[in-house]
Symmetry: C3
Subunit: 378 residues, 3 copies
């Protein structure tokens, strides 16, 4: 565990991200969640991702595709049109594009104009989610999907329930929120927080690398928070864990749970028939500079003991996210009034600051790569 | 008729108009429709034309006048005031202006300040419409009204029904729409379009001059579209014509109709007691860069055979314009996201491109004339 | 009294204030009304003053305090939090600030970060109003409160009824309106105006100094306006007075009233048991460049004769202010269309022009003082 002083030292060199409406640069060469798998059907699904209009639909074999949602002919959104076969047809004049963005039909002429193609985004479907690559398609690599964040969404021993939320705040504010455990003691006192949170807030094990942050916290032999009691029926004190795993750009798997105190959980002895073992899975995709799409789910290993645990935990966490939404949207409104107002960091912000630093470095690297000459041959 | 290749050649040198919110230049030295005649009464009628606030009202003899809708004293809209005699009185302090924009009463003082005049716009009332000249009043010439577009609105042999619409799109998008026949085959399949449209889309006779475009198309011995059957009761195939007449800045008279196939229509033998003979009359006035006022009417020669034909045709076309409105407003929203996204032209766009070119040239000429020194004496 | 010519000469050198959305400079080193006393309780009261987010609340002893409404930690508005003791606690992470803006609690650490303070605004409570100093706290001086404008709000011989209004117009437009008597003859004909107003509009005694304007007008032996009859039951002609007292930045006490004609009012003989003796008290605080908070009250000495007079006068004036609100918001909308459109002044605008000049000079002096080097020692 780190001392308060160690943590403050980490915070010191940090300077705040500017969250200014308009003009923000997003990380592009990475996978974002475009939708839950069950949201994408044969009919066009319009969305805005990183300020770009995108339309998704399934081809005849069920494969999802994603295209620029703008016909190059007269700039009508293709999502207003219809899917025919593996292609989408513009509602205005029938220009038709296949899943690669190639025009396959131009009305009232034989020759298809060479320029009549649109951007096609690499898309893959994994673990109940549809993933999209917003940057250079040549760099899209399925191995870059943050599998370990989401792989219990369709694991046979786990059961999940999730949701799409639309938040009127920068994805960065939600990232801060998800890295931060302290606010549970203030915002979520009726659901997932209690005073034990603050007392233990700096007792953390913080690991970090170029592309991850891991924060492990234990609250040993403490009363369980109300939501844990409601979902899992604890009757006495618990050993509670809260492990936050960050993957860039904006993924968080929170390993959360509690076991009856003194049954060996801190040493790794966890019996899912008595403990509560959860993954809180979080995927955030910027919509604009000040709005985001939020895909989250609760996944647990306890449903075999009682199938209603999934619903109960989901309901508790949904209530907590609704509390967060209110705070985050107020925060964004206050930032909009004066985007340059300063920010002060606390010791407990160390994990969040690490997360911000990783994202910033990744964006800076991407910008540097773009400005580099394309060929370096001599 | 032109070949596809001829048409593509015309399109080639075209570069797209930028339709960017804010800062667009409109053609000013021309007549626009300010209102339908029956909309203007004694009480003030406020409107915004080419981004300028305008108030219209009728003088005691019934003559309509149009003034800047802003009192020069404290900048309250005059339309909030009252018309007294031939003048309008500001609601705030009683400053009163005659139809020429001259202040005729300044409260609580004898002398009327020399600067207390407002802009008065030349206005004439012709063919059930009130026309306004937004540019230099010295250049206003009634002969420049596009009479041939609108003169069947009050012709004894014709009967019309029209409407004012407000569209949340650039007037340019509606102009494209009105020049274009192809979209009938996609947007209006239940009303005025059918597959015959696309099959014949490039069989057009395109004439153009400095200030007009005329596109004539014939669909010979084809099934009539649903709306034609509903209005005129065709039972067999028809010879259908679609002639689009453009006058700058934004006027279109579409000569539309059909006669039983083989009765000589293409050779000019048209019997209104058996054929359907329509003018679809379109007058568009920019409100702002991204909104417009749309005055349209259906006028026909067939009402003597059956007075309900006017209503029936109006209802069919109204339904079609509601379909167009949906597409056009989506188009504007997509353009707003990225006004610089490219446009690709098709062969069938040749008439629309000609229309855009004429308007662009007229605007460029007007800008050039403004930047020229006022006197050229040596 | 001044001649029309004298007044026009005063107006001549005046050039209009630009009322442009965004970027306007407000006078800062002065007292503004933040709220009515009874609006501020223990629970946080959020407001926006001069584009700054402010939260007010009462300490345990009842003293009101005002703080920057933005936690320096994560920029959440403190008004979303809770007041505990004499301090306010942030809803997000519990950062707590006392009434001086000093952080007294930082969660999960012992040391309070030195930078974790927020702006605290000098606040005093006087005459039923809570006053706030938006500029340099070192310059805040209670003597600068415009006591003479508001001191009948809690004077034992007077009784008042007031209101907070939110107007969608610049505070400057409301200031023009309050300096101006002429509009009563146009906007308020059913309440507090009548034709006598205009006939007497230039019969004014105008006094001014560096920090006040006083305009005295008398309408002798004239019919009373409808609202005066309704409130005070006049049956014959009256001698009516209308004295406007301006104090910068945006305070107006209108001394208004009437006595039965010929009973000596113009010579100072006023008997409150027969006359109507009113203060119309007006305090305006800019919210943004184009919106303002308006605190007004009617205060009268006649309630002892008939307690319902206070209600009656309030109702009449409320109706008048609702008429004004409509005009002022139309005025702002028209100014927004073209903020640079010219303004023409009339002779009757002389008092309003003086008011504008004083405010402009005060703002210019404040700007000059800010750009001056802090020390001038040699």
């Amino acid at each position: 565990m780190q001392s308060e002083q160690d943590v403050i030292k980490q915070v010191a060199p940090y300077s705040a991200h500017r969250i200014v409406p308009g003009g923000e640069r997003f990380l592009k060469n990475c996978w974002y969640v475009a939708a839950w798998s069950n949201e994408i059907e044969r009919k066009p699904f319009p969305t805005t991702l990183l300020n770009e209009p995108v339309v998704l639909f399934r081809q005849e074999d069920g494969t999802p595709v994603a295209l620029e949602d703008r016909c190059p002919h007269r700039r009508v959104p293709l999502s207003a049109g219809t899917v025919t076969g593996d292609a989408i047809k513009c509602a205005y004049h029938g220009m038709t594009f296949n899943g690669k963005g190639s025009c396959i039909y131009a009305p009232a002429q034989e020759k298809i104009p060479a320029a009549a193609n649109i951007k096609s985004y690499p898309v893959v479907e994994r673990h109940t989610l549809v993933w999209i690559w917003m940057g250079d398609p040549a760099l899209a690599d399925e191995k870059a999907i943050p599998y370990d964040v989401v792989d219990t969404l369709d694991h046979p021993e786990w059961r999940h329930k999730g949701q799409r939320r639309h938040l009127k705040c920068s994805y960065r504010l939600l990232m801060d929120n998800l890295t931060d455990m302290l606010h549970l003691a203030y915002v979520h006192t009726s659901t997932i927080g209690n005073p034990a949170i603050e007392a233990n807030a700096n007792k953390m094990k913080l690991d970090r690398g170029d592309n991850f942050v891991r924060v492990e916290r234990w609250m040993v032999d403490q009363p369980p928070p109300p939501g844990f009691v409601a979902a899992a029926g604890f009757t006495g004190n618990v050993d509670r864990w809260h492990v936050s795993n960050y993957r860039p750009p904006s993924y968080f798997r929170l390993d959360l749970g509690a076991a009856p105190a003194g049954t060996g959980a801190p040493e790794g002895k966890i019996d899912p028939s008595k403990a509560l073992v959860r993954h809180n899975i979080n995927c955030i995709t910027p919509e604009t500079e000040t709005t985001c799409h939020y895909f989250w789910a609760e996944s647990n290993r306890n449903w075999q003991r009682d199938p209603s645990i999934t619903e109960k935990i989901y309901d508790v966490v949904l209530e907590a996210f609704e509390e967060d939404t209110e705070i985050l949207e107020l925060q964004q409104r206050t930032i909009n009034i004066n985007p340059n107002a300063r920010e002060v960091h606390l010791a407990v912000d160390a994990p969040g600051v690490q997360v911000r630093n990783i994202l910033r470095r990744r964006i800076e690297e991407e910008l540097a790569a773009e400005s580099r000459p394309q060929s370096a041959s001599t």
